[in-house]
Assembly symmetry: C2
Homo-oligomer: 234 residues x 2
């Protein structure tokens, strides 16, 4: 799918808030030499569950949803990756096949870094290894929290929590609207419920003046109460 290298600003490697921050200039150069940047149109699949990803991807621009396909093809969204994040590294490092799929939510630019280069860098740069470990441990902690939430909270509580997390991750525009455009079904696939339930609860939240709805635009009116509904956060 789409264009290739040589474009000017594929600079994920140079950002100093990413996992690459402790690489030497030479190591960054090696990545730049071997990486492969592509633009993915909205809805384009980056990799699919069960396949072998022979490397990892660094998000340069856009938003990517990571999800698993469960019973009867139902998606469960695990998380959203944003610029600076890395995805797909799990399967090379654990040696398994990919356990999730990745799809561009908007037009996105991703750089592919080959797996053997990744492993070589981890082996030879301890600080880089620690940064990758930090990333995977952070994801692990979040996953564990999510397990507890889904197992114990009601759909209503989880939806409120998801709205708050979306605000934290994507922020609000000048109208206090969430800066992500998700279908009701996608919202349901994060919360882990039926589309209709999300719709009904969103209307309730609207009636209670917690949010306002205009198509897919969700305006946050009362995050305090939303947080209270979500029952603390974890």
């Amino acid at each position: 799918m789409s264009e290739n290298n040589t474009a000017p600003n594929h600079d994920c490697i140079d950002r100093n808030d990413t996992v690459f921050k402790h690489l030497t200039p030479e190591q960054k150069e090696r990545i730049n030499a071997e990486k492969n940047c592509n633009t993915y149109k909205k809805g384009a699949e980056i990799y699919h569950e069960g396949s072998r990803t022979n490397g990892m991807y660094c998000i340069n621009a856009g938003v990517v949803k990571i999800y698993k396909t469960g019973i009867d093809g139902r998606e469960q969204i695990i998380y959203f990756a944003r610029p600076g994040d890395i995805i797909g590294y799990r399967s090379i490092l654990s040696g398994d096949l990919a356990c999730s799929s990745a799809k561009a939510l908007q037009e996105s630019v991703l750089c592919f870094v080959p797996g053997d280069l990744l492993i070589d860098l981890i082996r030879n740069n301890g600080d880089f290894a620690l940064d990758v470990l930090q990333q995977s441990c952070k994801e692990l902690g979040e996953a564990n929290s999510y397990i507890t939430d889904i197992a114990q909270k009601t759909v209503r509580e989880r939806l409120a929590e998801v709205l708050i997390k979306l605000r934290e991750n994507f922020g609000l525009n000048e109208n206090n609207e969430l800066q992500v455009s998700l279908t009701r079904e996608e919202l349901a696939n994060i919360v882990g419920t039926a589309t209709e339930s999300v719709i009904r609860l969103l209307s309730e939240f609207k009636q209670d003046h917690l949010i306002d709805l205009k198509g897919r635009k969700i305006r946050i009116l009362d995050s305090k109460k939303l947080e209270k509904i979500s029952n603390a956060f974890g």
Copy 2:
């Protein structure tokens, strides 16, 4: 919490199926010099959510449950650690506080390895770093599967799945009984449901001749059907 070092066979470090397998003899010696082995009685807490674990633990003997405390104190069991496994490493590496608690299910022997030694070893031994990464990525993959399961499967399906996984992890004795002793409440806290629901479903399974019950002993009679009920596995 009890005895201390110098005991003869605290050999987790020498097993070649653990995360320590690629350490040099010198590095193993350093761990042996700095580690601190303790026996934990049944029910003893090893570390608690929200605390700072300044290192990690290697399980030498016994079984340890890792769990999070959710709403109104309800436990959600994340997984069981067994001899050879390491626990508690997440929080040192991600820099956060512990996001889960650990408690001995049986009398267990654990060796504590200080965090700065761990980090030093990761930094200076690339293969060790890769092994730790592999471990955390494996856990991450399992956590993601679990999220999907809890979000999409029924309690009945999940209970069947848990029974199968317990068999895979702990095996059966000569009577085809699971080699773990769990209370109904603990089973419920793995599945993510109410104790009463577990009890009812176990009786159903018994009536359908899938299992047999004798107190906490669960004998597996028909794992094929259990697997079918669990709806494939992930």
